[in-house]
Amino acid sequence: MSKWVLAALPVAMLGWACAANAASINAMVRTPDGIPVEDAAVVLNPASGMPRPALRRATIEQRDREFQPYLTIVTKGTAIDFPNRDPFKHHVYSFSPPNVFEIKLYADKPAKPILFDKSGEVVLGCNIHDWMEAHVLVVETPWFAKSGADGSATIKHLPAGAYRLRLWHPRQRAVVADVKVELKSTDAQHFDMTIDVAPRAVVKKPPPDAGGY
């Protein structure tokens, strides 16, 4: 496990190394009604010559009977930890074809992280708490960002070049077409993007004091 933690360091160092001559983009994601969309994935795929992605680690916590965070975007080959912060067990599963797995009832941190080595959309659930839902978007590229509560997502340290800008959301009603992007070395481009998102499925979470499970 400690080997994976150490492996994350070079990635951060790489980011810092390129920072000097890098372009950046900022995307503002809204619904067609103009409401900022949180948890939208903004992904830049280089038109050619995809760099070999570095191995990375990510973490999705189970806290207060919820997955944290709701959306996790990872580069293919990332191993994700599922530490349990609740005083009771969870049973995390994914039936999404790219990465089907299951971590049967566990407490604390599972022995092994789950390796996401196929790109695609993965839906995570808990067999014990039906309302627990999390999404993992496994992409090829290392350039991606997640919109915040204000709908804004920023990708920095981008080398100049041609890209396809992809917008995705776990609850999107329709696929949004990619946008071609030409980046110069110091560009800081801004995109206003629109995506129609369904509200989160209403699976009520019982109050914790009703049993605390």
């Binding site: 049973h91 599963y93 039936f95 074809p97 089907v100 299951e102 839906v123 995570l124 659930g125 808990c126 067999n127 039906d130 309302w131 627990m132 839902e133 776990p170 499925a201 699976v203």
Partner: protein
């Protein structure tokens, strides 16, 4: 109506009729009400059943959805589905479907493609048939309906999402709507449940096969949510039709027969109660009616008995109620009537002096004899009663009659009747008597009377004469029989032979005379006997000095009957004894009346032998003289020579007494009898009346004239005045005056005339 003739029946019929009426009314009302109630109740029950059915369907759907959701949430199920391995998925569907009894399981893609279908495992994916249902499921997370599958079989299907944890697919679960389904609903709703597809086929039913067959003929279109009448193979139903999903309808039926069964049962019980109570009422009201009518009927029967003359006491009704009071009053009435009737019948049928039956009673008994009966009537008359009665007084006479009656009663044969007819005359009626036994009986009678009778220490000798007549030989009519017996008795008395039979006496008087006694008695009562007066003329002074009273019978039908036609009979039968006292009184009254008016006439009355021998005559005459204030010389009693000769000694004694009073006495019809001169000489008489046969032949027979002349001389010699009656001519009159006859009488002088005419005649003669 004859039913109501008797009180008992009327009471019972009215009571029972009323109850039957009430019961029938009650049954009708109950029947009618229960029909209404059944109608309303069945509608209510059907409506409730229909509501219940909808609820059941809804609940069923929810349960299915819940079950499906639970299944869809099963981790193993979801995990298996996620494998996407066809064989595995199908096997999981079958396995998990069987857990909740689903017969059909499908997996749909999120966009409505059928990915797996347990019924058609090999089939490639195709579009789901029921997109609307799916759309609803997308809206509401789940949906359910009853649908017709491709094979037209109805299924209850539910669609639920497979969440992993986001919606990844749909699972469709189907439950066939079959007979068991219908039966289950039938059980829980109490209705008959049938499912029919929109196309019209019966898809499921809780009905038995025969009725299900009949159901195919039903017009579904006419049925809706409103209850309607439906007849199915002769059974009656209320039915509603409800939509079952979008492609089928369910027919809910309520059997009226089943609903009615409860009421029928109630009606049966009511009917039995009614029948029982009517039965009880019949018994009760009959017994009550009998208790009321019984005593009344008892009284009715008693009253009928009274009507028939039976006054024996009725069994008393001791009830304390009105009927009891009625019965008590009735009993008092009965006792009163019985006592009065007894008294009346005693008065009517009993002789008060002796207590024996009277003549009326005897006559009735005689009348009661039938044509085949034999009987004898024996009439007994005492021979020596009159002198005893006269000598010793009425009280002794009455006692004598009573003693004789009781003595006769002693020897009366069994079953016979002894009656007192009148005076000293008794009669026996003895049935089944032959002449020989009758004669023996008569002997015993006479024997019994021969013993002296003791009255107050005085021994009295009485004897009797008996006359007997036989029924029916001597006559069938009671008057005839009695009369013939009496005639026989008179004959026996005359001959002093004790007893005689009617047959020995002969027929007796003609029938006309047989009824004469009765008529004479009636004549006496109705004053049909009247007196005519014929003047007696003093020939020397040519002056009317007296008149002879002559009896005439003014018969209402036969006119004036001359005395010759009834006096002899009256004398013979003794009835004269009843007539004479009346005549004497009339004559005395007339004499007094005339003397008051200055007519100093001597009135003569004729006496029969019987009258003369009557010991009461002297007393009677004395009373009359006293009553009318007459001097004895004002009356003259004429006695025929033959009357004197019946009992010369007694006649002489009585004449002496009469003469002693001072009455004038006359020998009537002198010359016709055989009285000796010596006897005549001993009689204290004052007058001789020459028999008129001599006077009538004066002109023709010198011999008779000689007799008359010598008789006049003889009379004068004896100191008697001589009377000639039957003078019919002046010649005779002159001749008689010439020979010294004192008094004349006859048609030439004057015919007998009523008293009123007499005085007029006398006045006229005086004027001449």
């Amino acid at each position: 109506m004859t039913v109501f003739r008797s009180l008992e029946r009327r009471i019972a019929v009215v009571f029972v009729g009323l109850l039957v009426f009430v019961m029938v009314l009650m049954l009708l009302i109950v029947g009618r009400s229960s029909e209404v109630i059944i109608g309303a109740e069945s509608q209510r029950q059907l409506a409730a059943g229909a509501r219940n059915f909808s609820n059941l369907i809804e609940r069923d759907r929810r349960q299915l959805e819940l079950a499906a959701s639970v299944l869809a949430g099963d981790f193993g199920f979801r995990e298996a589905i996620a494998t996407q391995d066809r064989a595995t998925v199908l096997s999981v569907l079958r396995n998990h479907g069987s857990r909740i009894g689903a017969r059909m399981m499908m997996i749909l893609s999120l966009n409505g493609e059928v990915l797996f279908d347990t019924r058609r495992p090999a089939e490639a994916s195709h579009t789901f048939l029921f997109q609307a249902l799916l759309d609803r499921a997308k809206q509401e997370e789940r949906s359910g309906d009853v649908v017709l599958m491709e094979d037209m079989r109805p299924y209850q299907i539910v669609i639920v999402p497979i969440m992993a944890p986001v919606r990844t697919a749909w699972v469709v679960m189907g439950f066939p709507v079959e007979d068991t389904w219908a039966e289950e609903f039938s059980r829980s709703s109490g209705l008959d449940v049938s499912v029919v597809s929109a196309a019209g086929g019966i898809r499921a039913s809780s009905l038995p096969p025969a009725l299900r067959q009949a159901l195919t003929a039903v017009q579904w279109e006419a049925l809706d949510e409103q209850p309607k009448q439906l007849t199915l193979a002769g059974y009656h139903y209320h039915a509603v039709s409800l939509a079952l999903g979008s492609q089928a309808r369910v027919l809910l039926m309520l059997s009226l027969e089943r609903s009615e069964a409860v009421f029928r049962n109630l009606e049966h019980i009511l009917f039995i109660i009614a029948a029982c109570s009517i039965g009880l009422f019949v018994v009760g009201s009959f017994s009550l009616a009998r208790r009321i009518a019984g005593p009344v009927n008892h009284l009715v029967r008693a009253a009928q008995r009274f009507e028939a003359g039976d006054y024996s006491p009725a069994a008393t009704v001791s009830a304390p109620d009105e009927i009891g009071q009625l019965a008590a009053s009735f009993e008092h009435m009965r006792a009163g009537i019985a006592a009065r009737e007894q008294k009346i019948s005693r008065l009517a049928y009993e002789d008060t002096l002796t207590g024996l039956p009277n003549r009326t009673r005897l006559t009735e008994s005689l009348s009661a004899l039938g044509p085949d009966d034999h009987a004898v009537i024996a009439v007994l008359d005492l021979d020596r009663f009159a002198p005893i009665n006269d000598a010793l007084g009425h009280r002794v006479g009455d006692s004598l009659l009573q003693l004789v009656g009781s003595r006769l009663l002693e020897i009366m044969p069994q079953g016979g009747m002894l009656a007192r007819l009148w005076g000293d005359e008794f009669a026996f009626l003895i049935e089944k008597a032959e002449p020989e036994t009758a004669r023996q009986f008569a002997e015993r009678l006479l024997e019994a009377l021969r013993k002296p009778i003791d009255i107050d220490g005085q021994k009295l000798d009485v004897s009797g004469s008996i006359g007997m007549a036989f029924y029916p030989d001597d006559g069938c009519d009671m008057d005839v029989l009695l009369r013939r017996a009496e005639l026989a008795m008179y004959a026996a008395k005359q001959r002093q032979c004790g007893c005689m039979f009617a047959a020995e006496v002969g027929e007796g008087p003609p029938p006309e005379q047989l009824s004469l006694i009765g008529e004479m008695r009636q004549a006496l009562e109705c004053n049909q006997f009247v007196l005519y007066y014929q003047p007696k003329l003093d020939l020397a002074a040519n002056q009317v000095v007296g008149a002879e009273a002559l009896l005439r019978w003014q018969h209402p039908e036969r006119g004036l009957i001359p005395p010759g036609n009834f006096i002899p009979f009256a004398e013979k039968t003794g009835f004269i004894r009843e007539i004479t006292p009346r005549l004497l009184e009339d004559i005395a009254a007339q004499a007094a009346s005339w003397r008051e008016r200055g007519m100093q006439l001597v009135l003569s009355a004729n006496l029969s032998a019987r009258d003369l021998l009557n010991p009461g005559l002297v007393r009677l005459m004395r009373e009359l003289l006293e009553t009318y204030g007459l001097s004895p010389q004002a009356l003259c009693l004429e006695i025929t020579e033959s009357a004197l000769m019946e009992d010369p000694m007694l006649a002489q004694a009585h004449l002496a007494e009469l003469a002693g009073i001072g009455l004038k006495l006359s020998i009537d019809d002198y010359g016709a009898g055989q009285a000796s001169l010596a006897y005549l000489k001993s009689l204290p008489v004052h007058e001789l009346k020459i028999d008129q046969s001599f006077i009538n032949s004066l002109a023709l027979s010198p011999k008779d004239a000689a007799i008359v002349r010598s008789t006049v001389a003889l009379g004068h010699a004896l100191g008697l005045s001589v009377v000639a009656e039957g003078i019919e001519s002046q010649t005779d009159l002159d001749w008689l005056r010439e020979v010294g006859c004192d008094i004349g009488q006859g048609y030439f002088i004057a015919r007998p005339m009523p008293a009123a005419d007499f005085s007029a005649w006398l006045t006229r003669r005086a004027l001449i």
